[in-house]
Amino acid sequence: MKFATAIIIGAGQSGLAMSRHLSALSIDHVVLERGEVANSWLTERWDSLRLLTPNWQSRLPGYAYAGDDPDGFMTMPEVVCFLQQYSRSSCAPVVTGVRVAQVRQLDKGYQVETDQGPWRCRKLVIATGACNLATIPSPAAGLPARVASLTPLQYKNPALLPDGGVMIVGASASGIQLAREIQAAGRRVVVCVGEHVRMPRTYRGRDIQWWMDVTGAMDVRYDTMVEDIERARRLPSLQLIGTPERVTVDLNSLRKAGVELVGRLVGLCDGKAQFSGSLANHCALADLKMNRLLTSIDDWVNTSGLARQFAPPHRFEPTDVGPETRLSLDLIRAGIGSVIWATGYRPNYSWLNVPVFDRKGRIRHDGGIVSAPGMYVMGLPFMRRRKSSFIDGAGADAGDLAAHLSQNLNRAAA
């Protein structure tokens, strides 16, 4: 039986940031990783994917991007390199190739069963990420067998898709990025649009992430948003893409490129897809929300007295989906060869055999402190701060949770 005071499951940015903090506190621990460091970045992302945050914003405890393109957006191989180098320079106690099969609660800690034998620990940190599984909506059950069904976790590039057109369900970060690249590869693309968050890549001459950072938006804490926190945690991902050209991809640009926009997929029966008639409202809501963000940026600039440093305020074209959008599509007749479910992701906690879940299967936590003693979770959207699910957010959260873990260790020992 192997033992550590703390076990961290997952060697991505969250797990490594936590490891760094625990090492600084001299708390013995091990990081169990089913693959190599940065496994999800390495194996579960598509070929052309880049971060949608600029490189300077990849800041971890005691480490930061030191390359020659701080305003650029790292490719997946670069992210993997970045994190593996972090692991090495931290001398993080990572054990790779270890798959956790089950975690059980013990009297004063947890038993972690793995394919390399069992471990015991007093403290458990779940750093397995928020995107282990693609969430597939119920209409998927009606997809004809002839039409291929994929998630963004499986998709790699347009050439590997079956012949024919592609229907992408979902227009958040994954959906709009895939729509752009698959359309550019010459395929017919239809995107089903539900709730989404529209964002320009740049505003008044600066990257939108720079604004979110400097105005403090990314540091907003979960406990200052008591009323709205559950809604904030369920917000879809930003319609952003990282490209060297710093392009903005939104529904208008997709439509101009020839992508067909339809409403949310609400039914799929006998090969016929049904779309909601509420597309115009979803677009209006997204435009209003974006404008509120831009106004908050303008207000910040005015208060700071730095207006001269930035280009003047302006607004973007309202989303125009045309006067009428189609309400249904016969997939076979329309030559749709595959459907990509870009409808969100969720964590996989099937191995966690501890009663810490709510009636919808979500882990119960207070800012990352799970409802079981000595258990922590990391990397969930707005878990502790708006930036919790971003690379840049791992460090602050790890610092807070490591301090809590440490304090409770000492109290228990006394």
Partner: protein
């Protein structure tokens, strides 16, 4: 010289938002109580004229009765060789949509502390009657499209008024019923 201090009048659109928020909190802990059943019964009068009666509904785990029964008549117009005793069913649907959205605007405005002065909605829906007359199979029976225009006077900026209408649609029952598929099961005798 007197200095007048402006007293901000309490925002009142007539919606008891606190009661709604309390209900929301309570139901979050008891989702079974959130299962409602709305009902209507209808009796044929003559020709295309019928009369609906609306009374009891089910909610919060129990039958809810009202101290009165509402009646709603429907008929077809003279252009349809009918007697025009009441609005057509499709016009009642437009009215239902308008009312649901309007009530939503009032509730959201109350919640957001915006004083409304007037809210008027005008609606228009296209219908190709080749559908209902069975002339052309490729024409649907229902509306081709519905257009709703809101004219709202309120103590708020234009974008905030637009946001009221957008939020109202987001949470509207009739908007959902009209824009998304709903199962209807009809049995006889």
């Amino acid at each position: 010289m007197t200095t007048t201090t402006s007293v901000s009048a309490k925002i009142d659109n007539g919606v008891n938002v606190n009661a709604l928020l309390d209900a929301r909190t309570a139901l979050e802990q008891a989702p079974e109580a959130a299962q409602f059943k709305w009902r209507a019964s209808c009796e044929w009068v003559n020709g295309t004229h019928s009369r609906s009666a609306i009374g009891n509904f089910f909610g919060l785990g129990a039958e809810q009765s009202r101290n009165k029964t509402f009646t709603v008549d429907a008929d077809h117009p003279q252009l349809f060789a009918s007697e025009d005793n009441a609005p057509t069913p499709v016009e009642l649907v437009l009215s239902g949509l308008a009312s649901c959205l309007t009530a939503g605007v009032a509730a959201v405005a109350q919640r957001r502390g915006i004083q409304l002065h007037s809210v008027k909605a005008s609606l228009e829906a296209d219908m190709d009657i080749q559908g209902i007359l069975g002339i052309d199979d490729e024409v649907r029976n229902g509306f081709g499209a519905i257009r709703v225009h809101f004219d709202i006077r309120a103590d708020a900026k234009e974008d905030d008024i637009k946001a009221l209408v957008a939020q109202s649609q987001k949470r509207s029952a009739v908007f959902d019923i009209v824009t998304n598929p709903t199962n209807v099961v009809v049995t006889v005798n």
